[in-house]
């Protein structure tokens, strides 16, 4: 079975790069919030030795403009669309999910429960999932932060609250200094760390959650090659999402897909992961 390759939310604008979007099996939007957001002031990104940090701050048009303007154009790409939604309270998640409920242009909704660059909602991840679940029957993927001691426990709670699948993992908070001034390079100070340095952390999270819950997992975090993708699948992911590598190489989806096929063939079918669940997607 071919494993789906997605983009990680916030790592591709399918409307700005439709040719890249069409090389993916599913496109995931940048996180949409109820109201429009300007995002954080620049400087927003900095490269580090083994990755990068970003503090974009959920810049976006708000759910109404998204549904009215972006979604019709996304639907015309001919690639299934998952919409990432976020907010600052359970009611924000419910409002976005209600606006997308029953819309056949939306194959699934990913709940960004773990943006490291904005204020956190006061509710727990499970409470946010429950609020979203009450607002929609569309498949829900809960995107969890790797910055927790027992991510398997979180996985059980969000699945019990109604999540149909998991997206693992979001970025983890990191800091980078300017070499000359020893001041933070990002205006907001910390940002979300992504790229190759996140890979072993993502593997551990996918591995722990796959043992804890029986739902499909989209694995992501520093995937740079077909081998990296295969390892996430071996850890229990059903599909793989590409993030930072898309910034470095717009052709990464095709390259990683063919590398993955070759790696699978080389490793042999008896080693091919069998746990993988089919993605739940309308």
């Amino acid at each position: 079975m071919d494993s789906h390759i997605l983009n990680a939310s916030g790592c591709l604008d399918p409307l700005a790069a439709p040719d890249v979007a069409r090389t993916l099996d599913i496109v995931v939007t940048k996180t949409i919030t109820p109201e429009p957001r300007a995002g954080n002031p620049p400087v927003r990104i900095a490269e580090t030795e083994h990755g990068m940090i970003n503090s974009i701050g959920l810049q976006g048009p708000g759910i109404e403009a998204f549904v009215g303007d972006s979604l019709p154009r996304l639907a015309r790409l001919g690639v299934p669309v998952w919409v990432s939604v976020g907010g600052f309270a359970a009611s924000d998640y419910a409002r976005c999910c209600a606006a997308l409920d029953g819309d056949d242009r939306v194959a699934a909704i990913e709940l960004n429960l773990s943006c490291p660059n904005v204020e956190e909602a006061p509710e727990t991840a499970a409470e946010l999932v429950a609020a979203a679940r009450a607002a929609t029957s569309t498949p829900l993927y809960a995107k969890l932060s790797p910055a927790q001691w027992d991510i398997a426990a979180s996985a059980r709670k969000v699945v019990a609250a109604g999540a149909d699948g998991l997206s693992l993992v979001n970025t983890i908070r990191g800091l980078a200094f300017d070499p000359a001034t020893l001041r933070p390079r990002l205006v907001r100070g910390v940002g979300g760390y992504s790229g190759p340095g996140l890979r072993p952390i993502a593997l551990a999270c996918v591995h722990a959650c796959a043992a804890a819950v029986d739902v499909p997992i989209v694995g992501m975090g520093g995937v740079w090659s077909g081998r990296d993708a295969l390892e996430l699948l071996a850890a229990g992911a059903s599909a793989v999402a590409l993030g930072t590598v898309l910034f470095a190489d717009p052709h990464a989806p095709d390259r990683i897909r063919s590398e993955l096929a070759a790696e699978r063939a080389a490793v042999g079918t008896e080693q091919t992961p069998t746990r993988a669940r089919k993605l739940l997607s309308h």
């Binding site: 916030g10 790592c11 591709l12 604008d13 700005a16 790069a17 040719d19 890249v20 940048k30 300007a38 995002g39 002031p41 620049p42 400087v43 927003r44 990104i45 900095a46 490269e47 580090t48 083994h50 990755g51 990068m52 970003n54 974009i56 810049q59 790229g195 190759p196 930072t244 898309l246 910034f247 470095a248 190489d249 717009p250 052709h251």
Partner: protein, 226 residues
Amino acid sequence: MRTERLAVRGNEAVGPYALVRLARGGLDPGQPGQFFMLEAPGRVLPRPFSLCLAGTGELAFLVDPVGHGTRAISALARGDAIRVTGPLGHGFDLSVRRPLLVGGGIGVAPFPYLSQALGGPPALLGFRTAHHAEAASLVPNAEVVLDPTLVTEALPDDPGDVLACGPEPMLDALARVVPGAQLAREAPMACGYGACYGCVVPREGGYVRLCIEGPVVMANGTGEGA
């Protein structure tokens, strides 16, 4: 948008800068002021560069080795190959009647190609030192000023249609004196094609992506380049 692996044809020092020449492959040189993302060997992210020269079958980039990525790119040698994506963004609007190129430091990078497209217009270039000013040899009809003289102090009374590229303070100062100027701006950029939202600049109470709306923008904030 095209991405190709391009072979390095040569690398020459121009003052403190490196002029890195790549075999063009199937990439289009694009409009002057547009940019390319160049792989920086050993680094996670590529780096943005405007095209400096489009010799036959070549794309050449002027690189100031100031950080990890730019040092890796300026160390490239014949026989190496790097991934290159482009051309990207909006370049200069070339429908100008009396062009004057105004640049500072590594900001002269897009001018050789731009000057060619405009038939060798006058240029006013500012540099920190005489060593840096060796880059002026790449730009025809250039008048050079050295630190502490500022290009804004050397501007003619009626500068005409200003097309500029240089450090932020220089561009901001120019924008105040010549509101109609076209400015090629710079920002930290992860992807160069609208994916990362890292390179935003303020506009109309919000932020726009410089890689999509620019890198050439109008000084008075209206519209965009070509």
